[in-house]
């Protein structure tokens, strides 16, 4: 599936919920399915700045596609990064660079999250895209 298709799928899933509690519960569930980063990669270099909780992200090239693994010490944060990774992982770096992130607003994440966490979310997207740029440079 393309990034856009996956994003539409996520938006569809979240549109089923009427209230914030269900959204959060679903997000927490998604957090549990996050492809976990290997312990060896849980270094300070891989921590995303701008989140109140710790978030580690690692990126690896599998043939010509970028695969992300991650973890967080907070479960809601883990849910957010799981959603982002589902949209961006296993995609070509150039597609990740070009992808827009409006779906975050559409699933009510940005709207429903506190300013500090919203900033964390922005930092997460930025970090995933930075990895894509770095690997795209390698591929070129």
């Amino acid at each position: 599936m393309t990034i856009t298709e996956i994003q539409e799928e996520i938006v569809d899933e979240f549109s089923m919920f009427d209230d914030w509690m269900q959204r959060y519960e679903y997000m927490i569930e998604l957090g549990k399915s996050l492809p976990l980063i290997e312990e060896a990669y849980k270094t300070d270099d891989n921590i995303i700045k701008g989140c109140q909780s710790k978030v580690w992200v690692h990126a690896e090239l599998d043939e010509n596609k970028l695969v992300f693994t991650a973890d967080s010490d907070a479960i809601i944060t883990k849910g957010i990064i799981a959603i982002l990774i589902r949209a961006f992982s296993n995609q070509k770096p150039q597609d990740i660079i070009d992808a827009d992130t409006d779906f975050i607003d559409e699933i009510g994440l940005k709207e429903h999250l506190s300013a500090t966490r919203a900033n964390g979310l922005v930092s997460m997207v930025k970090q995933l895209k930075l990895y894509a740029i770095a690997y795209q440079t390698q591929l070129n």
Binding site: Q52, A74, I76, H112
Partner: protein, 407 residues
């Protein structure tokens, strides 16, 4: 015991307490970060801009003189509140951080390499970093007064750290992260026996404890108006006259001078020497109004009522499985820092916010304390005299709900 607080009547004074957050009535339990503002103080701010706004101290016109009188009257209110010997020992600053930096900067002139300065292990970053910078500038050595598992200072260690090389001790009156009330009488007395000066950061004590600064005999005491129902951007540095005269000015500018030529400038007398530029005039006047408001309720009544809130909240929270409270000092203010086993404090804070409950999560600008307990942070609920027992119940129920969602 029935406290002498009519909380429902008091709540009428605070317009913000009527608002909703995320569709629920706001339960504001982040009072240690900033207190809410009663309409008496809001009215004072509005009145200033509607009737009094003028620059102070130098104008000959009526408005300027009236604004100056109101500003200086606020200084006297602060002087009376803290039982300070002279009004000119009250320096109006932008807040506690500014006050501490002013002293730390000035002490560069008094310290030499090898001198020792003591800091407590439970300080806010604002009472650590300025002194680290001072130590770097002067070569002075920063030593730490340790704390124990309950979040109390180890006083025996403090007495052992004091010596002939100790020049300055700085410590908070009340810990922002734990609520511990530190034994500042003993800290001051012991430091003075070694001819060391003492600065007490009173920001967290201000809303709970009325201090007699002459009796305490402390050299410097700092606080911020927004902790006592006043506005942000204004606070106090108290300094003994002899120290304030000895310290060099912090900022140069208007107001703080006696005479200026290109060859030499002489400085104004206290307090103006430390109040360069146009001050936060409205803030200063509202600061006075805030202290008047709190004194009208009475600090004894406030302390008694908050002790009841603290006892009730502690008892109820401890009924929650996996609950751990950090800071169990014998003497503490109405602050509860906690975690629930296996749950990140940020997750709890996020769910509480959805339920209309405002708490603080994180390291509370006191990372050394979090390092001591080996935790990433805590959830901190801090209670004020306008909080109710019913709000404590909402907090407890909300924490339980968060726990069931997150575990």
């Amino acid at each position: 015991m029935i406290a002498m607080i009519d909380v429902e009547k008091i709540r009428e004074d605070f317009p913000i307490l009527k608002r909703e957050v995320n569709g629920r009535p706001l339960v504001y339990l982040d009072n240690a970060a900033t207190s809410q503002t009663p309409k008496q103080v809001i009215d004072c701010i509005v009145d200033y801009y509607q009737n009094l706004n003028a620059n102070i101290h130098r104008g000959v016109h009526t408005l300027s003189q009236e604004a100056t009188d109101a500003y200086e009257a606020a200084r006297k209110t602060i002087q009376t509140h803290y039982n300070i010997a002279h009004a000119h020992e009250v320096i109006l600053t932008s807040g506690t951080t500014h006050s501490i930096n002013l002293v730390a900067n000035g002490f560069s002139s008094f310290l030499k390499s090898g001198d020792e300065i003591l800091v407590s292990a439970m300080e806010h970053h604002s009472n650590i970093v300025p002194w680290q910078m001072l130590a770097e500038r002067t070569g002075a050595i920063l030593k730490v007064i340790p704390m124990n598992e309950n979040g109390e200072l180890v006083m025996e260690a403090y007495h052992n750290l004091l010596g002939d090389k100790t020049k300055l001790v700085f410590c908070n009156h009340v810990s922002n992260a734990l609520g511990t009330v530190n034994p500042i009488d003993e800290i001051v007395e012991a430091a003075h026996a070694h001819d060391a000066a003492v600065l007490i950061d009173g920001a967290q004590a201000a809303p709970h404890i009325k201090v007699d600064l002459q009796a305490l005999d402390v050299d410097f005491y700092t606080m911020s108006a927004h902790k006592v129902c006043g506005p942000t951007g204004i606070g106090m540095l108290y300094g003994k006259q002899k120290w304030l005269n000895a310290l060099p000015p912090y900022q140069g500018g208007g107001e703080m001078i006696a005479e200026v030529t290109f060859e030499k400038t002489t400085y104004a007398d206290l307090p103006h020497k430390f109040e360069a530029g146009t001050p936060n005039i409205c803030g200063g006047i509202a600061f006075g109004a805030a202290l008047d408001y709190m004194n009208a309720i009475g600090f004894e009544a406030i302390a008694a009522y908050e002790a009841e809130l603290l006892a009730y909240a502690t008892e109820k929270l401890l009924e929650i499985k996996g609950m751990k409270i950090y800071g169990t000092a014998a003497e503490k203010t109405s602050v509860i820092s906690f975690n629930i086993q296996g749950i990140h404090p940020y997750d709890i804070g996020t769910i509480l916010d959805k339920l209309g409950v405002a708490v603080r999560t994180g390291h509370h600008c006191a990372q050394p304390i979090m390092d001591y307990y080996k935790i990433p942070g805590t959830v901190r609920a801090s209670f004020s005299f306008y909080n109710t027992m019913a709000e404590v119940d909402v907090l407890v129920e909300s924490v339980k709900r968060a726990q069931s969602m997150l575990q």
